[in-house]
Structure formats: C-alpha cells, structure tokens
C-alpha cells in the first residue's frame, strides 16, 4: 500500500544508501592509492592494462577524432565565412579540440569502451570467486587486480585525448584546406599564433588526466562493488557508463570555470 510515510522511508533509505556507497567509494580510492606499490614495482602488470585500456581503444578514438574534426571544419568554415575570416579556421578547430572536445569526447568514448570492459572484467572475476580465491592465496585483489587497471586508465586517458585532438586537427585541415580550399599557411600559422601551450594545451591535458582518474575509479569501483550475478554485473556496467558520462560533464564545467575565465 502506498503511503506518505513509506515514501519518506524509501527516500530516506535510498539517500542513506547512496551516502554510504559514496563513503565506501572514497575508502576504496584511498585503498587503491595505499596499495599502488605493486602497480609500480611490477610495471608489466600496469603496462598490460595500458595496452588493454589505451591501445585497444585507439581505433574508436582515432576514427571519432577524425569525424569530429571534419564536422568542426565544415561548421567552422560555414560560420567564419559570414565574417570573412576563414583563415581563422585552424585556430577555431584547434582551440575547440584542445580545450573541450578532445578531453571530453575522448573521456566519454573511453568510459564506454574501456571503462565498461574493466567493470565487466572485475565484476565477472568477483562473480566467479576469482577475487575471493586471490584473497585466500594471500594476494590482495585491490593491489593485484584493481590498482593496475586504475593506473592503466589514468595513464591511457590523456594520451588518448591527445590522439583524439591531433586526429581532429587533421580532420579540420582535411576538410578546410584540402576540400574547401582555405589557405594552408594561414590555417597552420593562425593555429600556431592562437593556441597557447600552457593556457590551452596544458589545461586540456589536466582535464583529460582528471577525467582519467574519475572514469577509472568509477569503472574499478563499480566492478568491485557489483552484485556477483549476471544481472548485477550488467547493472554495474550500465552504472559505469552513465555515472562516468555525468561525472565527466560536471567536472568539465567545474574545471572550465577555474581554467578559462576570460584571461589573456
């Protein structure tokens, strides 16, 4: 039977549950940092995860970067043409990519491609008692399984964002210079003059690094905390993608508001 009291009770229960889970995630993050020694001492473990999260995500990142660059080139040219400043196409494409689209879109793709697979892998290891078995063999699963995957994602994410941006610039150049006929020299020189290394590129790298931490943490946590059943793991994967997307967009707003406040 529905009653206001039961509604309030359910709401309170759900709120407490979420706060408790958030606290558990924070403790989990501290445990990863505390037990990260293995990931650095035994570098092949982390390199393997960089390969799985980074190298295997390259194709989707490069292709997406190219298409985003092509679209940016088309849209940018169309708008700049109205003001007679099509030679600024290079700087428009580069700034859009290094400041925003590179880190954000690459992170969204990374969460869907690599984050979901990390959650599935850890979740299935939990469901098939592999984590328990490791624990019984006196090997801490957070040190051996979780931390290398976390650091693998943290390292891979900025590299993927850089590849995305580079491919996007190439796409913008292809559509602007090769197909539409914008002056090649103007395209690159305007870009060189308009893009500041520290202000634009470095801030973009910081963003992608922060997104890498967020997505990797969400992915490993959701896997580790998943209900060890087929349904539980599938729900955890969904939560990884949804929570990562929302977190990336929210963090992007916060970081942008600190980094780019109309200076210069």
């Amino acid at each position: 039977m529905f009653s206001p009291a039961s509604l309030i009770r359910k709401l309170g229960h759900a709120t407490v549950e979420r706060i408790w889970r958030l606290g558990f995630a924070a403790r989990f993050f501290v445990a990863i940092l505390r037990l990260s020694g293995t990931s650095f001492r035994r570098l092949p473990l982390t390199l393997r995860e960089i390969y799985f999260s980074g190298v295997l995500s390259l194709l989707i990142i490069l292709v997406s970067g190219l298409f985003v660059g092509l679209v940016l080139g088309l849209q940018g040219f169309e708008t700049l043409q109205r003001y007679g400043s099509t030679e600024a196409l290079g700087v428009l494409v580069a700034l859009s990519l290094t400041r925003e689209l590179g880190p954000v879109v690459a992170a969204l793709l990374f969460a869907s491609r690599a984050g979901s697979s990390v959650t599935a892998e850890i979740g299935l290891m939990k469901a098939t008692e592999q984590l328990k078995a490791m624990d019984m063999m006196a090997v801490n699963p957070i040190a051996r399984v979780v931390a290398p995957r976390f650091w693998g994602g943290v390292v891979a994410m900025p590299l993927l964002a850089a590849m995305f941006s580079a491919m996007g610039v190439l796409g913008g150049w292809l559509i602007g210079v090769v197909f539409i006929g914008v002056d090649d020299g103007a395209f690159w020189s305007q870009m060189q003059a308009g893009v500041d290394w520290r202000y634009d590129v470095w801030n973009g790298v910081i963003k992608s690094f922060v997104f890498g931490i967020a997505v990797s943490l969400i992915a490993v946590f959701e896997g580790y905390d998943s209900v060890p059943t087929a349904e539980g793991v599938s729900r955890a994967i969904t939560r990884t993608v949804v929570t990562s997307a929302l977190t990336i967009l929210a963090l992007d707003f916060v970081l942008t508001s600190f980094m780019f406040r109309g200076a210069s």
């Binding site: 039977m1 290891m125 592999q130 328990k132 078995a133 490791m134 019984m136 063999m137 006196a138 090997v139």
Partner: protein, 270 residues
C-alpha cells in the same frame, strides 16, 4: 591446545543481517586428517569455512589455528597465515585470463623469489600429481568441470600448505570425475602431510575418503563421528541425510503460513 589439534573452534557464532547463521559451533580438527563438514544447503557450511580462513569475522566465539587466534588477527597477519593455507573453491575459481600453467604458478610467483626454471619444475610436479601435465597450455575455458577442479586443486597445494580447505569440491561433477577428485584429495593430503577440511553434501564420496565427519543443521553441530559411526548411526538427522529421505527432521518446505491462510488472504502486493 594439544599439539595434534590444528584447528580448534569454540562456540563460533555468526549473524548475517541479524539472522543467525552459525550458533555456537565447537569443532576440533586434528593434524593430518581429512575432515568433512556436511549438511543441507544454507546450513552455514561455507560460512564456517570462511570464518576459519579469516575472510569473515564471526560475531562470537573463537577460531584457533596452530597458535593463532584467527578472529583477532590484522589483515597483514591474516595474509601471512594464508600462505600456509590452500583453498579449493566450488567451481575452481581459476583465473580466466591465465593458462593452466600460469594459474598453478600464480601463488609461487606471488610469494616466492624462485627462478622461472624452478617454478616450471614445481608446476609440472603439481600438474603431474593431478594428471594434467599435458594440459598446461590450455586456458580455463577449454577445460571440463572436473579438469578445472583438478587444476584448482594443484594451485591450492602449490605452496605445500599445512591446511587445505575444500568448498563443495564435488558439485556438478560426473561420477568418474567425482571419484578422481575424491581420491586426489585423500592422496594429496597424505602425501603433503597436510590437514584437510572439506565442506560438502556428497555423503557417499565423503564416507570413502574422510577420517571424521561433522553434521551441521541450522548453524549447529547436530552429529559427528567417524565414517563407520556415521553409517551405524541411529540419529534421525544422520539417517535422513545418509539415506536421502524426504521425511525427517530436515524439512523440504521453506517456512511459510498455511496454504489455506494464504489463499484466503486474497491478492496483496508482496
């Protein structure tokens, strides 16, 4: 504690979400013996095993392993103790991204500084003991249930543990694989000079290979004895269990109000 007792469990209690699972368990597991803990599904057998291994903290009572109080140990102390333990999980719990060889080599690589050559020799010996030396290059997905269990057994004894725990080692196996696993458990225990605790509900295989049996029901030890004593037992619970009888002290139905009461209550949202 006398020297011949490896695991001493006193008044062990464990609650899960306020529901009592173990209610005052007392057991003594002698060194060198294979001991079975039996009982129906959900009677607390696996929980008891996990309390012995320190993966669960009991709500009351004590588990003493050698001179160690398992329930009072820190995480680091527990990890040190677990290097002397091996555990076989219900479905093997092999690492699916590693080959059979790497699975057995895993504890050796994690806990010793042995050279790869030495590890190779040891892994070969362990796999030979379970009859799977020829399968060392296979991945877990390519193994049958019985083979996976044997690989997991080789992995569990890789570090020559003093205590090996088996969680439902016979589940889902055909009669031949079941017999093979049973014999391996006995032979490996004797060859290694280890002590084995086996949680199972396979009474017939257990009676053939174990030295002592504890029966659990409702979180309590309800009967115990050697295989011969169990076979001759007149205890209604043991009798029902050994002869797989439907009627007896263990009920088939989950507790519920009477069917008449439920039907007359009409449709309500559950």
């Amino acid at each position: 504690m006398p020297d011949d007792i490896l695991v001493d469990i006193e008044d062990l209690q464990f609650n899960y979400d306020g529901r009592p699972v173990l209610q005052g368990i007392n057991m003594k597991i002698p060194r060198g013996k294979v001991v079975a803990i039996m009982g129906g599904s959900g009677c607390g057998k696996t929980t008891l095993l996990r309390c012995i291994g320190g993966q669960l903290r009991p709500t009351g009572g004590r588990v003493r392993l050698e001179k160690h109080q398992v329930c009072e140990m820190s995480e680091a102390e527990l990890y040190r103790l677990r290097r002397k333990m091996g555990m076989l999980f219900q479905f093997g719990a092999l690492f699916t991204d590693m080959s059979v060889f790497d699975n057995v080599a895993f504890p050796l690589r994690e806990h010793t500084d042995m050279s790869e050559e030495m590890i190779r020799d040891l892994v070969m010996m362990k796999l030979e003991a379970v009859g799977l030396r020829g399968a060392r290059k296979l991945m877990p997905g390519e193994l049958s249930g019985g083979m996976a269990r044997r690989v997991a057994l080789a992995r569990a004894v890789a570090l020559d543990p003093m205590l090996v725990m088996y969680d439902e080692p016979f589940t889902g196996l055909d009669p031949i694989a079941l017999g093979v696993i049973g014999q391996l458990i006995r032979k490996l225990n004797d060859a290694l000079g280890a002590t084995s605790i086996m949680v199972t509900h396979d009474i017939h295989e257990s009676l053939l290979i174990v030295d002592y049996i504890y029966f659990l029901n409702g979180g309590r030890v309800v009967a115990e004895g050697t295989p011969d004593e169990i076979r001759a037992s007149k205890d209604p619970f043991v009798h029902q269990f050994v002869y797989a009888e439907v009627e007896g002290p263990v009920h088939f139905d989950y507790p519920a109000p009477s069917i008449r009461q439920e039907l007359l209550a009409g449709v309500t949202r559950v």
